[in-house]
Amino acid sequence: MKTFAQLVFPGRLIAVEGLDGSGKSTQINLLKRWLEMQGLKVYFSEWNSSETVKAATSKGKKRELLTPTTFSLIHATDFADRYERHLLPLLRAGYLVLCDRYIFTAFARDVVRGCPPEWVRGIYNFAALPDLTFFFKSDLTVSLQRILDGRPKLKFFEAGMDLRLSPDPYESFRIFQGRLLEQYLAMSTEFNFIVIDANEQVETQQSLVRQLVANHLKLAKFKSHKPLSLPALPRPVRRRIASPSLDQEPVE
């Protein structure tokens, strides 16, 4: 597997990974603000957000229809849709693409759910690797507290209830998140995660993230062309049809 830089794409992909409640979404949002402020071409994509696939996923989750295999496949479908329809064209057009979760989320979750690791990785092997992956490493107790403070009601799959780890959703969530953390840590070296201490202050983390991005990427390359307003579109041209039609102009 290669990164977008190794595949000579003009764009670059930055991904954030981490447990629920690690603060990764906050951090990538702040990074996005900073990049946009510099007038760079930025696109943000979230895990499990494809318009086409989302309806099926939420039905499957709400009605608890998902097994480890279909859970894995439906998220892969969602990812493929975003990847082929948005990420690839944008990366070819020289965008900085920011992803809140990438294939590593699937690698961790699906394997914890019992899917064979080689199978999961094989499915996602159409995707290139991020150019930078930030892993927000928090103490399990800290991230658990963040989630449990803000959103006291845990959803079935989010809490890993399908794994029957415990009849108590909170206990189940704790065990599930612990197993995810193990998977992430095991991938850390293999996929060159940049580990950020998520127990630090928001500002401390963000300045480190910005500094690392500036060091690794030539940000000036991603400036959007000025003026920002789009050029006027040419007048629509009637498409030529193979069969002759009445209003066609005479051929010279």
Partner: protein, 243 residues
Amino acid sequence: MKKSLNHQIVVPRRTERRFYGQGIPRIHLDDLAGKLIVIEGADGSGRSTQIARLVEWLECSGHATVQVGLKRSTLVSEELELAQQGNILSHTTLSLFYATDFADQLENAIIPALKAGFIVLADRYIYTLMARDLVRGLEQPWLKNLYGIALEPDGVFYLNVPPAELVQRSLAKYAALDYWESGMDLGLSRDMFDSFLEFQRLMQDAFKRLQTVYGFEILDGDRPPDEVFEELKRRIAGLLAGD
């Protein structure tokens, strides 16, 4: 005394069951006592006619049956249909969407029915899905891994009908050619008739390629339905007896 009806019903012989690859977590293959029989072929190859007759024959012979097919899952069939109408999905996405549909039916229809000792008749299986994906340019090793979740059926019969005959059958039935069965999304030709022939030819090539790996039986589907049925019956009876 009048000769009584024959009450002797063939009890299908148990055979060793396997997944094609990694399989599905937490499934015990030894529990799956039923039989999985797959009928493959293009639209218009006579699949549904044959399946209807097989169901009747099998049930009269004392076997419980269940039918499954593509795009029939509770989980994603509606969404898949909707997405296809808009024709907005790229190849990998469409492929994974179908794989999700397949997996849902495998786990929620096929496997429970096999556990209960039913004969499952599948109106197409992973081979059609893989053949379409191969024609659309996806890699065979990727597909092999993806469908490593599938159970190896007890019998797979591919009804082979030449594309020119498929055109005739489709037009006689619907007076039109189907957009997807014509592979119109591939841009082979802007002419639907030409595209249909070319796409079906490519599909047959893909099936032949898959046949060398998955070893299913190719039956001549370009014959009267009665003849095809007799052959299917003969082969399936043999399969149930464990020949």
